[in-house]
Symmetry: C3
């Protein structure tokens, strides 16, 4: 399998995903500290980061390469991402110049750019991100776009492997509370990952927070190929019956997407969607809690669950480094 862009886990067959994870495992057992000798990764963060920022720098260093970080608005001027505009506002540089220039300084480029959160279809199409990616003529990595987070999805898949969680087991993707409307990137990516891995996936979310039908449709198609299934419900307690995994994630209201006031009004009623130990009633005894982090303690998930035996959130985060090294190796070695 050759690789020049890591944009979406859905671009890979399950066998290709396993091949990437096998490479990650091999690099853990047999480090290759010179594999990317002299190679340079450029990292552009249009939004904040902790895991991605640290793990990509660490991953390049572990393989003998190096990296530079550009954070528009912090040490670098703001970057305009809209095409065709008259640039008389705050942004001093357009991505049409900025991204090709940065790409010309490095061997691979990664970009993080969250959803605008205004136009649902535009965010689902990932049109802004795709037009940015199209400006880069080097190996490219999606560090989280409007609707995708393939590095997280790959790390989560490996985490399920590490825990020997069987593909056909029940995987509940549950909406959880948060003070604000967060993007759909991680829930969409986690749903697709679990479907592609062949799980029986149930999306549990309150009314008003259903994942868009395009996302559900795509996941169902993946599940069909892998022998899994995808369903949805607003009854999490029922969904949790027999669950092997509870994947908790915050996201914004989709029935009134981009309407902050309505989003706030709707979510005000759903603070009881916080994950507590009681949420696991009827689940498998060893049902796991997954979350991509960062997580709001005692808002999204109760502290004792996060710190308890079910939680594998730190393992997921560490796997970010592990699987990204495989992606970097495949793109650049």
């Amino acid at each position: 399998m050759s690789l020049s862009r890591f944009m979406d886990l859905a671009d890979f067959s399950p066998a290709e995903v396993e091949e990437l994870i096998a490479l990650a495992d091999r690099l853990q057992r047999h480090p290759e500290p010179k594999a990317l000798d002299g190679k340079i990764l450029g990292l552009v963060f249009l939004n904040p980061s902790l895991r991605t920022l640290a793990s990509f720098q660490a991953g390049m260093a572990r393989l003998g390469g190096s990296s530079f970080v550009i954070t528009p608005g912090q040490g670098t001027w703001g970057l305009e991402t809209r095409m065709g505009v008259r640039m008389d506002g705050a942004a001093a540089e357009h991505v049409r110049e900025g991204l090709p220039v940065l790409a010309s300084f490095c061997d691979a480029l990664g970009i993080r750019a969250f959803a605008d959160g205004k136009d649902l279809n535009a965010d689902i199409d990932d049109s802004t991100f795709k037009s940015m990616a199209a400006l880069v003529d080097k190996p490219f990595i999606n560090l989280e776009s409007a609707i995708n987070h393939p590095c997280q999805a790959l790390a989560d898949w490996k985490t399920l492997n590490d825990l020997a969680i069987a593909p056909r087991s029940k995987f509940v993707l549950s909406w959880v509370p948060h003070p604000r409307a967060l993007p759909l990137a991680v829930p969409a990516a986690a749903l697709h990952m679990a479907a592609l891995r062949g799980h029986d996936v149930v999306v549990a979310r309150p009314e008003g927070f259903a994942l868009p039908s395009a996302i559900m449709y795509r996941a169902r198609a993946a599940a069909a190929l892998s022998g899994g299934s995808v369903s949805e419900t607003n009854d999490r307690a029922e969904a949790m019956q027999g669950a092997q995994v509870l994947y908790a994630k915050e996201w914004g209201c989709t029935s009134h997407y981009g309407d902050a006031a309505m989003d706030a009004r709707l979510r005000a009623d759903f603070s009881h969607w916080q994950v507590t130990e009681e949420s696991f009633a009827g689940a498998m005894a060893d049902c796991r809690l997954m979350h991509c982090l960062p997580v709001r303690r005692n808002v999204a998930v109760a502290e004792n669950v996060l710190d308890g035996h079910r939680s594998v959130v730190l393992k997921e985060a560490h796997n970010r480094l592990v699987v990204q090294m495989a992606v970097l190796h495949r793109l650049l070695a």
Copy 2:
């Protein structure tokens, strides 16, 4: 040619510039990934950056060295640059301590510090920058000062070489619109570069935006040695007759330097100085558009020109990396 400070392209003869560019070409053809093994470059940005920030880190990495970045006000406290003051304001540290300390941690130091934009003579003298540079007892690089940007000028010279543009051809440095008054560093550096390379340089700018006479005088002296010429006009259409290069650049009003209200009033009348395809009427058929970036699309330059066949702005930007590697090699290898 030995080199311990890269402060101003005017410190070099044309032959010495060509020698630096020949080294850049050689490093492109025959990379030296261990040339700066273990060497450390310190980068201090008192103002934002994209190209300089990324390309110097990439250049050090390509040569086997490494770098650290200090951005006062962002992760580092504000640095006071005025000498002799009582420090009871916002800045917690003075450059008199900060810069020697940083220099003592690395093998070469680069500093970016834009013009204050208040006192024209102080900015032309580059007095603040020179006093900062004097505090550094290590190889030193000007990453853009109040009145100079030698890395850009060197990259532009190489770009002209790459395009086989003849020294005596006509080079029009044109003022273009921008929402705010920008510094004189790049226009001064580009003018001097073109004069030193032997071009017939015409500075085209509206009334109120003439480059200071000291800058013009210095460029004329360089032109005299190199067989070129320097003139100025407020009629860009005329200037463009027979032009081989249009170098577009934004800068602030000089007749009322530092007066933001007057600057805004004056520039309000000159939005038609935006470069469009029509601006090239009467120019050579293959007349090029140059710009140091960042550029305001559809304000300074029309989008179709930026994206069209005349534009060499991405080549100029990539050459930043290429020539800076030669500067680093000369300073540190």
Copy 3:
């Protein structure tokens, strides 16, 4: 001496400190550019930095390793440090996840987290910092906590060695003016360092700014073991009689700790505590000025003293790099 945490210089005997400094000296004479090949240092700055930020990156590079920097609030979301809270505020991530995750990406982690400045006992206990450090299962470095700055103390000790200043000589730690209440970390660390090195230490400070008794007690115990002494006074002129070192430092009012209005009222009367050449009347002819930097020129210390023959502030700062390389070597080689 094995080392897995560099938390507090008080954890070391004088002989162990000298052993670390001997390693620092050796690494200066005989560089080991491959000692930390492939090793990665994570640096987390909850507060601004200049020396620490630059010198740790440079130190890792000098030893063949690399580093990444995380600055919550700047490119990374805010980190919550309080335990047990409901996270419905500004901070998106808790250190309970953030720190173990970052530690899992690197071989050693350093954290800077200044005092809250509200509860004196909590700050003296360094409870927040210790609970953060407890989350990290990798070699750990205190980059300045609420009450400690061991890297600065170690650099200062080496500076005293370099200057051949005898242990039993008189060391005056003097409060100096500053616009705001600064933390107690450096004065506490400098006091302990000087006591542990065996000096006759006098803490000179105005009424209301006495160092907390727990700090004084701990220093007296160290002095007793090393043959030195610790006393305090509000008469700096008297303290300076026969002094070999004047260590100037700003800190906040302790009699009304955390009360900004009272702090401001008290300090308003003490601008004459600025160190001037006159402050050295009665001191040894070669009495030195030490300061950890950053320093407010003409507020804390007069410019002519900072730039004069007594000042060793740049030597102290450069020694930060030198001794930290020894710490890194001991932790990671």
